[in-house]
Symmetry: none
Subunit: 404 residues, 2 copies
Amino acid sequence: MKILLVICDGMADRPAGALKGMTPLEAAEVPNMDRLAREGQTGLMDVIAPGTVPGSDTAHLALLGYDPREVYTGRGPFEAAGEGVEVRKGDVAFRCNFSTVDGKMNVTDRRAGRISKGTHELAAAVNGMKIEDVQVIFKEGVDHRAVLVLRGPGLSPKVTEVDPHHEGKVLISKALAPEAEKTARILNEFTRKSYEILSKHPVNLARAKEGKAPANIALARGSGSPPEVPSFSEHHNGLKGTAIVGISLVRGLCRLSGLDVPDVKGATGSTDTDVQAKAEAAAAALKTHDFVLLHFKGPDLYGHDGDAPGKAAFIEKIDAAISGFVALDNTIVCITADHSTPCSVKDHASDPVPLLVWGKGLRHDLTDCFSELEAASGGLGHIRGHELMGMLTGLAGRNPKFGA
Amino acid sequence: MKILLVICDGMADRPAGALKGMTPLEAAEVPNMDRLAREGQTGLMDVIAPGTVPGSDTAHLALLGYDPREVYTGRGPFEAAGEGVEVRKGDVAFRCNFSTVDGKMNVTDRRAGRISKGTHELAAAVNGMKIEDVQVIFKEGVDHRAVLVLRGPGLSPKVTEVDPHHEGKVLISKALAPEAEKTARILNEFTRKSYEILSKHPVNLARAKEGKAPANIALARGSGSPPEVPSFSEHHNGLKGTAIVGISLVRGLCRLSGLDVPDVKGATGSTDTDVQAKAEAAAAALKTHDFVLLHFKGPDLYGHDGDAPGKAAFIEKIDAAISGFVALDNTIVCITADHSTPCSVKDHASDPVPLLVWGKGLRHDLTDCFSELEAASGGLGHIRGHELMGMLTGLAGRNPKFGA
């Protein structure tokens, strides 16, 4: 049996006033999810642990079968891999912003006037430098975003950030452990050098002429090293997987785990994504892979905006898109969320997420639709995120017997 | 309060086509189990962990209150104890087959023509030898089966098997850790010597004359050492227990745990067992012991055969047999399975097992019959196998207060 894991980012919610006290999932018309819930089983999942508010990266680590409390050090490596930068064991990676500072290293604009052009040239000017025996890899992302990878001996992700997260003085990175002294020193030197190089760069000189804020420094945060874990395939008895996902952070995390992460035309990682194209890509991938992760960012974005009706409508779009291929005889389907993003909170919350598992010949339960409410008494009970993959590979008959 | 734990081996299942989409337990008429479910509580149990496919040995270790992920090394010691061979701390034990090899050590029949006579003499010829400073204990089991125990200093169960598991060359045992080099060497020498001795043995010379495959080698697999754990009684606050069980592997495991394991006339460990005699033995044992484990292998065997109606019928037999004594005022009754053996899978599966707990004066829940479906929303929730005994001794008022 193959496995299709549909992750509706941030889908789980709380009762919304705008939906007469229903959650977006309850309010949405989702005949396909409801059918799978009726024929299969549902439950609730604490993606990390009860009370823990998951980030997108820690949540997806858990959903791929790793315990983020043991292996996660920071978002940097996933961001870097998401931008197509190779990240190796021992590297320390960061998410960066192109920002604007004045001559006294005060940040006046954290996003450098939301710069959208010329960042490739700026990144190229910083990329490739060497500080002590450490190689600097730097690459632009979308708009003001960029990633930094430090490669060399004796590095550690245990350093504080240089990005102050608001206007104010650029911070000096400090080591949080003795083994991170070198990394903090290199990062501070990189920050200084980025100012030295970028402030004189023709792109910024031109921006100054146009009255735009110069992107004259690169500010790092979210330091991390790639988790020292077996690959997804090694971790799950040779399961060969692919991920259909638009958003860069999750793309990078899946790629670092060893999943194939193809580009899908029209997949934007936002609410304007081509939901149908992604569903079709997942259906095609199921023909060549044993495991397909299909990810939709939309519900989370509506949650952050507090737009419950918009969230319900996007969930309906997902349901319609997957209708064509979800109930295959040879495929176990799991639909869930990576975390709750309640519209009333406008941010991630620790509430557990609903979970649905369907497969031909598997057990069913007494649930007859897919919602937070029904899932609370579903047959799958309450599980933890890092147990999900093992449960699915078990149901798919892919786990070896333990003992005789 | 005393405790009766009824284990219906492999009883848990999935919807079966032959039973109109019901599981065997759902389809079976089990008025006694249904009454206990109605008056008591049910739940689901991941015997080892979600997604883990239990073996019979690891499952029973968990049900006796030990975590097999921490203490299990292999089936050998349980097989040996099941054949009445004493297994001590530091011993390494194996399950063996009498097999037939040609002069080039190619296995031509793994079961030596399913030999059924003369194995006592063959085993006696191999038993008692000394290799280096290691004593060899070897005993025949039923038909082609036998057990091997190595006793001496510096042994380790971390060795590969010599049994190729199909026709082909006898394997050379290799150490999986440096401390197992000696054990691998001894095992290889034992294998060679068993051929040397058995190939010339009168029993085999006679077999050759009759055109039968000689049992001319002993091939070991399933190496293990006895778990280094407190006895069942020490582990459960002095609980004195007995196990009514026919199948050798589970008999050995219970015996090694320190339970009494009486012989019951008519108990075969198969589908032809005297269910009534076992139930009566359990009822009698409850008069002298605080804890009685009553085990029925039948449901598992029907599961392996894919015979859902046969499995349902055997479950009905169990229900009828226990009717006379289950609802005693002074006894907590727990009925469950050691793992799922779905008829559609014909092997063990990771699906959780239904669990029923009844006791006079204890809580009840909203469940009104005993089935996988109802248990999924029962009052006991979802527990792990190794937590069961503690829950039962707790309900029986046998656990000390933790704290003040």
